[in-house]
Symmetry: C2
């Protein structure tokens, strides 16, 4: 038989313990933060019927990016590319029994068939946070405040990120009433807005002209430039400023200010790719000029639960991703030093294995994470293994130590050595964990 | 558009918060227990090339049970049906750099296309624990002791489960030397042994005769019955008892006794389905006669790392599953009462929302998981929501309370109410969490 490749599948990542520590640090910070806001964890299947995504996630996502296939029973399924349709389905299934407002979160993996690049992998992990059953803008305010709290919990300062906010109803008004576009043109213009940061100003102009059409181009471009130059809601063209959709946006900013979120801004060009948004949309941006990228986003999607045959229910959600979060933390130097979850490595001298096992048992029963070297190798080889594993303490156990019930404890970071009883070892190691 | 079904994909489960609490309880107990033994967590992709499983996992698993398909780039992939090939691949990829013995674990989901039934789902979760780089039987002893520790940590008593142990080399000796079977016959006989508990004695006999063939049947059945009636290693036919493979098994029992594992027993009929095992195999059984089922198992698989082009490396692993563990805990009444991770539900009276938000912020910043009812509904509706969510405490906030900075705290389980300052509320809630 030929040799198998040791590489992971394209666009996916192996998380070795040192990578997993970073993942766990981010996951645990996420989890703790959203639990502070009273959100409860749920879990969901990795597979869904493909039609769940063709319904409302958008053509590109459902038709080009899903890992979809026909199962051995003839069902057309997809590995989930996002969580919103799934959690909407789950809420729909228990529409009558659940307590509202429902506050729910999950941390899960997803797959999309895209070209892998920096910050984008085919398999990716996301925190998914959703509130169901609050019609008012207070839901958006809480989800955005929570998004900001997630950033803060990871060590971000206010000036490291900005929250850009727009509204789908306002976008619709702008496209139809202000720019005078029909549905097809509006769709194209939204896609163009979405690509804005990735293309040149000239390309943007050319493509806008194409959407407006010869006859409308001149007037259209003038109106567009009035839009794009607006730095705040007050700068917007009067027709838009006086539209009813603006009121909700203004109320949202009032609520955010009350919640202490000061780095939010209105951005009329913010679109978000997914079809199911019905009101507020927002994105958190890295302000570092070298990155200047969208970290994650969310919005209101009041129509999804109803798609699954249940009474309609309002919903607002957000989904920070692991990959962009890790890049953000690294570029802003916010990632703490993360060591092994193992606290003690026992090095065994001579024939002391039996006694060393007993010591390991004692330490473990007192809650100390203890690895025992049972290889019988030379001292220096055992020592090297413990150091390579980044375990903070080492204990040396020989016959003499067992007889005297006193052991040498070495603190690897300070290289300090002490001769201690089991009780003192336990206290020292536990103390270190608390203070680190 | 027609309505979408709210049901999850066949053989998968939605984990609502009350289900997820059970899952998290088991996951966290697993994690804590294996970390006590110095195992470190890793993560791995949900997809692997299909050939990773056709190589050594066995024909049934790779060809009939995988969720395999061709991706948009023409690669034949499978949703992982187990972790052993993946972790072997990961170790092979860093064969030179890693520190040995390597002790690794993960908690992950898997999929197999099987008929769903009680205790078996198409998507299932497993703890995967593996030690790489220990040739001696001490590796098996540690993995089995750890398996027992996992059961104990979940509340199991020694008499609730038994660990059955066999050895692939001993099985091979038994099949070839003792029963005189060729490779094809041996394969069939092993499959028959594997099904033993699920078929009648008569069926077992008939199928055994078919495997032996007319000429050998009589002698074969006599030898088989001598085997099957053995209650311990001492009862085994002399040829087997004196084979070299028995020595390793005996040494393992000695080590297990030393480690305090008293509920292990030898079982010559234990096979385990997977092709890659090379030495010890074991399974943990529920002793409840109503269940009498295998909970999980593991064994030695020294050949897998080498398949990925790396220098061969010895390995022993075990993989307890979530579904069987949950069934075990429920049938033995070992599952503790699990409440919401949210600690406080704030009920808002009248126009006090702004002040209630401030209170929520204060509680959260002190580490209290706080949900705020922002619906403006009547008192009794808010109250019902908090109770339905199984949140242990409720705070009632009106204008009067905000002015006086004193709030009513209600303990839901005792129905006791106290009027307290924020500081006292925080202390009371934290105290409750610690004691529960």
């Amino acid at each position: 038989m030929s040799t198998l490749s040791p590489q992971p599948y394209k666009g996916t990542r192996d998380y070795y313990p040192e990578d997993k520590r970073v993942q766990n640090y981010i996951f645990e910070t996420w989890k703790q933060t959203v639990q502070r806001f009273g959100y409860e964890e749920y879990g969901a299947p990795i597979l869904e019927p493909l039609e769940v995504y063709t319904a409302k996630s958008g053509q590109e996502l459902a038709n080009e990016q899903t890992y979809s296939f026909t199962d051995r029973g003839g069902r057309v399924v997809a590995i989930r590319p996002e969580m919103t349709p799934t959690i909407s389905r789950m809420v729909a299934a228990r529409r009558q029994e659940m307590a509202y407002p429902a506050r729910l979160f999950s941390i899960a993996n997803f797959m999309r068939y895209e070209r892998p690049q920096r910050g984008r992998e085919r398999e990716f992990w996301q925190l998914n946070v959703d509130i169901f059953g609050v019609d008012s803008i207070l839901a958006e305010a809480e989800i955005i405040a929570l998004s900001s709290a997630v950033m803060k919990a990871l060590g971000a300062k206010d000036d490291m990120y900005v929250i850009k906010i727009n509204n789908r109803q306002l976008i619709n008004f702008m496209m139809a009433q202000y720019l005078g576009l029909d549905a097809v043109q509006a769709q194209l213009m939204m896609k163009l807005f979405d690509r804005k940061a990735k293309i040149s100003l000239e390309d943007f102009r050319d493509q806008a002209i194409e959407i407006f059409g010869e006859a409308m181009a001149s007037e259209g471009l003038t109106k567009l430039s009035a839009l794009m130059s607006a730095q705040s809601m007050a700068d917007l063209p009067r027709e838009i400023r006086e539209s009813s959709a603006v009121k909700g946006v203004q109320e949202l900013f009032t609520q955010l200010e009350r919640a202490g979120v000061t780095n939010a801004m209105f951005d009329i060009t913010l679109m978000r790719g997914l079809d199911y948004y019905t009101g507020t949309v927002f994105e958190v941006y890295d302000t570092d000029p070298e990155n200047n990228r969208s970290l994650f986003g969310g919005g209101r999607y009041d129509g999804l639960v109803g798609l699954f045959g249940a009474e309609p229910l309002s919903a607002v959600g957000v989904a920070p991703g692991l990959t962009m979060t890790e890049l953000f933390l690294r570029s802003h130097k916010l990632l703490p030093e993360l060591i092994s979850t193992t606290q003690v490595y026992i090095v065994v001298l001579g024939d002391a294995l039996k006694g060393a096992m007993k010591l390991a048992d004692e330490l473990r029963s007192e809650g100390v994470n203890t690895e025992l070297d049972m290889t019988g190798r030379k001292l220096d080889k055992q020592l090297k293994t413990g150091i390579k594993k980044q375990i903070p303490f080492m204990i040396f156990v020989g016959d003499e130590e067992i007889k005297n019930e006193l052991y040498q404890l070495k603190d690897i970071s300070s290289a300090e050595e002490q001769t201690l009883s089991v009780e003192r070892i336990i206290a020292t190691v536990k103390d270190h964990r608390r203070s680190s």
